[in-house]
Structure formats: C-alpha cells, structure tokens
C-alpha cells in the first residue's frame, strides 16, 4: 500500500465553530492506482487531497505514506516528501505570476538541490513532454488556461514523484484542453505513477479504473470499475 489512511478526521475551526470536513475515513491505495475522487461540492474532496499530499495534517487518525506515519515527520521531512514523492496539481494552477514557465517548473528541482545544468535539461525535457517547448520563456499571464495547467503538471512531474495528485485540474478549462490534460495523466499512469484526480466531470471519472465517492465527509462508495 502506498497510501493507507485509518480513521482520518479533519476538523476546521472558524472562530468558535467547529466543522468536521472528514469523519473517520479509511482509504487504501495501491501503487499504480488511478483514482477519481468524486462527490458534491463541500463533501471534503479537497480536504482529503490536501491530507494525502501532506499539504495539511489530519486532526485525528493515522496516515501511512509509503509505510511512514506522516504525523511523526518533521517539517523538513514533510518538505522533502512534498518535493520528491508527491506532485500536486491545483485547480487554480498556483503558478508564480512573475516567473516564466521554465522558472516555475524549475522550482521543485531548485528545492531538491539539483545542479543548474541538470535542472535545465530536466525542465526542457518535461516541458517538451507536455508540449510547451515553445512557451518556455512565457509568463503565466501570457498563456491560456490549458497551457498554464500543463506547466503546473510539468512542475508536478519535475522530480519524477511516485504520486501525482490533481485537485479539479480541468475545472477551469474548456473541454478540449481538459481532454488533453486527462490524456497527459493517462500517459503518466501508464509509466507507473499512482494518480489521484478530483473531478466533477462524470465523463472523466467514468474513464478511470477506480472511483472514490465522498459525501458529507464520509466515503459513500469506493470501488474498481469492472
């Protein structure tokens, strides 16, 4: 099991109000899984994804990532996990606005301490893979949504992580750009990555081998297609 969550709860506190976004969830994912997380808005999909990606810590429960208990990791160890093991793709892209495509993709390599020459090679390689060799020096403001999301995916792939997480990666895109993104994920999956995608789009979810359905912070269904 690459991901193993036992009785995971996440409670948000806003002032005096507590809100349980996840309620004692159990979830196990195998290496090489390709999972769609679906469910109505507010059901806790993003919350779950952020916990999986170590962008946030659970309020209660155990999360074993590749056999290691996440809550026992130091902040630097967590940083390393986020840097090397996980690639995160956000719905809002979250690119640095003043940096070029090249510089955005370079960031995780920089944090990993990769040497300048190797960084350059690697960035060129991935940007080519996502079909953006000619947009290397463009800033996010000079790109379309589909292009920005491909930069974000390239960035997530930079350190060749085992797990790729994408929170509604096609939510801000037209269907054609969305389809291209989905194709990219399929390719990555074929190369052996574990991929988890949140989506509202039934058509996209339907193409994936496994679907986890959330509702009100609980897993409603969880199973493989055929």
């Amino acid at each position: 099991m690459i991901i193993e969550m036992n009785n995971i709860s996440k409670v948000y506190q806003t002032g005096n109000v507590e809100f349980a976004a996840l309620k004692e969830i159990n979830l196990k994912l195998k290496r090489g899984d390709f999972v769609a997380i679906v469910g109505p808005s507010g059901s806790g999909k993003s919350t779950l994804m952020n916990l999986i990606g170590c962008l946030d810590l659970p309020t209660k429960g155990n999360y074993l990532l590749d056999g290691r208990e996440v809550k026992h990791l130091s902040s630097n160890e967590l940083a390393e996990v986020r840097n090397k093991k996980i690639g995160f793709v956000f719905q809002a892209f979250n690119l640095l606005p003043y940096a070029t495509a090249f510089e955005n993709v370079e960031l995780p390599l920089l944090f990993a301490g990769v040497k300048s020459k190797n960084r350059k090679e690697r960035v060129h390689e991935i940007l080519e893979k996502v079909g953006l060799s000619d947009k290397m020096e463009n800033k996010p403001t000079e790109m379309s949504g589909g292009e920005m999301q491909r930069v974000a995916i390239a960035r997530a792939m930079a350190n060749d992580p085992e797990i790729i997480l994408a929170d509604e990666p096609t939510g801000n895109l037209d269907s054609k750009s969305g389809a291209a993104i989905v194709d990219l994920f399929k390719e990555l999956w074929k190369s052996g990555k574990t991929i988890i995608v949140i989506t509202h789009d039934e058509k996209i979810a339907g193409q994936l081998p496994r679907i986890v359905k959330l509702k009100d912070g609980l897993i409603e269904s969880n199973g493989y297609a055929n």
Binding site: L55, D56, R82, K84, N94, R155
Partner: protein
C-alpha cells in the same frame, strides 16, 4: 511590483534624509563662515568710564586707550595673537580723476588686515612694516570703494587724493562675505598706516583697539589680561568691566554655534520623523505585499521548499532591495548635492555636503525596518501548513 515599491520606499527615505543633512550642514557652515567675515577670535575695545572707586580715586573717570597702550598690551599680554589700534576719520574725500567719494579712513597696524580678515586681492597687498616705519602715503581700499572710483580700471599703483593729499593705492580687498561690523562694511573703507594717519591728524587717543586671541585661549583670559594691564597703568579696579567697552565677537560665534547646534537637533528630529515615516512606509508596503508573499510561500512549501530556505531567500531579497534602494537614494541625493553649486545659491545656503556614515545608517535602519516588518509575517506563513498559507487570504 512589491520589489519596486519597497525599493522606492527605501530610496525615498534615504534620499530625503541625506539631502536634509547635507543642506543643514551647508547652511550651518556658511553662516559661521559669514559671521567670521569680520575676523576670527577677535574683540573690539572702546573707551569706557570707571564705575568703582579705586585707591581713593572717584568713579566716572574716562579711560581712553592710546597707541602707546596698545604697544604696552602687545608687549605684556600672553594671550594675544595680534592687536592693532584703529584711528578713524568718518568723512574724508577720496578722489581719483573726476570720481570722488566721502568715506571712512582708518589708521591701522599691518596685522590689522589678517586679524580682520581683510585679504588683499591678487596683485595687491595690505599695509606692511615699512609703510608704518616710513609713514608712507599708501592706502588700501575696500573692493566696493575701488569699483566706485576706479570702475573696471586697475587701481593698484594709482594715485588718489585723500583730503587733497596724494596717496598711492597698494591694495584692494578681496571680495568677502561679512554680516556684522562696527564702523561700516570693510568693502566701503580705506586703510592707511596708523603712523601716516597720526602725521596727518595727530590724534591723542585711538578710536578703538582690535585684539585677536590665540585660538586655544578663551577671550575671557585675554580680556582679563587687558583689564589688568590697563588697570595698573590708569589705576582702576581690573574687575571694573565698565572701564573699557568690549565687543567679544566670539560670543556671537558661540551663540551662532549654539543656535546651529539646536538647528542640528531640529534636523535630527525631522530626520528621525522622516525615518519613522519611511519605516512605516516600508512596513506598509511589506504588508501590502503580504498577501502575495504568503501565497508565494504557500506555493513554494507545497513544492517542497524547506522553511529555512524560504526565510533565507526572504532575508536575502530584503537585503538586496534595501541595499539597492538605499544606494540609489544615496547616489541620487549625492547627485543633487553635487549639482547644487551650479545653481549659484551659495550665498545663504552654502555648499551642501553629504555625510556618508549618516547615509549608511539610514539605509541600515530602513533595511532593518523592512526586514522586521516583512520577516515576522513571512515566518508566520512559513510555520503554517502549505494549504493554510495558500488559503490565508
């Protein structure tokens, strides 16, 4: 954007403070220089009247120094660096060809010139010892007087008539700034050797005496010595300060220095206020960019940046920004200061000069403010979970 804003804040703060102090210093120095136009460390002594009984002698006796007294004081006083009697005729006719003026004529010693900051212009000289010894009919004239009767023509070597007696012009005063005097501005006057003056007018008493103390000695010491010497000769109480009327110009300088010290504190006050304003500006800018910065920190952490890396980068960035802003602010102010004399306003404000250490301190303070204002929010953001940093705004 935030880089530009912060940099501008530091630039502006540095620039205004450097300028403030440069001009403050220039004005101060110029005013002190003008005040010294009459002479450095000098006092003027006029006759007076005794106000205390002394060894049976009554009050109300007039004490009037003679040239012999001046010789005596010069011999006996150790505190003096120079002394000269000053005879004056307030209305003589000075004539060259068709031009003539009614002006003051002074009989003085050679050291009078240096002491009173009356410097001969190029190609001319002040009265010397031989003029004195030989009672030569030579005259040194103020620069305005020269213009009045000679116009653009060369004056040195020419003959003028002073009350119908021929005199040779030996020197013209170099233009100077003088903002105080006791018998008209020097540039209007004519000076001849006291010996020559006496051969024409045979005065018993001098009008006044000018003394200069050695720079390391207080004028008070000199004055006491003069009262002692004169008191012994004319039998009056040396503590009776009414016997001679003395204008101690060093008091004026001291006052001016005090005034400008106060002025300086005032400037420092403004400087600190400016610094605080600048600091508030810089920290406000830091707050404006906090949102952008927090989000950026969130993104970087999500991509695996370590806390230390983020903070290091932040500090480095701030230092560069303040450094560049400060250096440009300094250079800009420096440019203005250097270009300023071209405007020819030197008369009142003097020549501003830049205080390098003050500038370094300003840049340093603004840098620290920027760092503190930006560092803590950045640190707080870096201590959050990445998602919290991303969602903070």
């Amino acid at each position: 954007m935030r880089t530009a804003l912060t940099m501008f804040g530091v630039f502006w703060g540095t620039c205004s403070i450097v300028l403030l102090f440069a001009f403050g210093k220039g004005i101060t120095e110029q005013q002190i220089k003008d005040q010294k136009g009459m002479g450095d460390n000098i006092a003027i002594i006029w006759p007076g009247v005794t106000s205390m009984e002394f060894q049976g002698l009554p009050t109300g006796r007039r004490i009037r120094p003679t040239e012999d007294d001046v010789v005596l004081i010069k011999k006996k006083s150790s505190a003096l660096s120079a002394i000269s009697p000053e005879y004056r005729d307030g209305s003589v006719t000075i004539k060259f060809k068709k031009e003539s003026r009614r002006r003051s004529l002074f009989g003085v010693w050679p050291e009078f010139g240096d002491m009173r900051n009356i410097i001969p212009d190029e190609g001319s000289r002040f009265i010397n010892e031989r003029d004195m010894a030989e009672k030569r009919r030579v005259v040194f004239i103020g620069n305005r007087l020269k213009e009045d009767i000679f116009g653009e023509e060369e004056a040195v070597g020419e003959r003028v008539l002073i009350d119908n007696m021929p005199f040779t012009v030996i020197g013209v005063m170099k233009v100077k700034k003088q903002n105080s005097s006791y018998s008209g501005r020097d540039y209007r006057n004519a000076y001849i050797p006291s010996s020559t003056f006496q051969s024409m007018y045979s005065r018993r008493y001098v009008n006044n005496v000018v003394v200069q103390t050695k720079p390391e000695i207080s004028m008070e010491v000199t004055k006491s010595q003069i009262f002692e010497i004169m008191g012994a000769k004319y039998k009056f109480d040396p503590t009776d300060r009414e016997t001679l009327s003395i204008w101690d110009t060093t008091k004026g300088i001291a006052f001016l220095k005090d005034f400008f010290r106060a002025f300086r504190y005032f400037l420092i006050g403004i400087g600190i206020a400016t610094l605080i304003t600048g600091g508030i500006g810089v920290s406000n800018i830091m707050n404006i960019v906090l949102e952008e910065r927090t989000k950026e920190i969130g993104i970087k952490m999500a991509l695996g940046a370590k806390k230390g890396m983020i903070l290091f980068q932040f500090i480095f960035e701030t230092l560069i920004i303040t450094g560049v802003g400060g250096v440009f602010g300094f250079l800009f102010a420096y440019g203005i200061v250097k270009a300023f004399p071209l405007l020819q306003l030197g008369d009142f404000v003097g020549t501003p000069s830049v205080d390098v250490w003050g500038s370094v301190m300003v840049i340093f303070v603004l840098g620290i403010v920027g760092l503190v204002a930006g560092y803590f929010p950045a640190k707080r953001a870096a201590n959050l979970q990445p998602v919290q940093a991303l969602k903070l705004f």
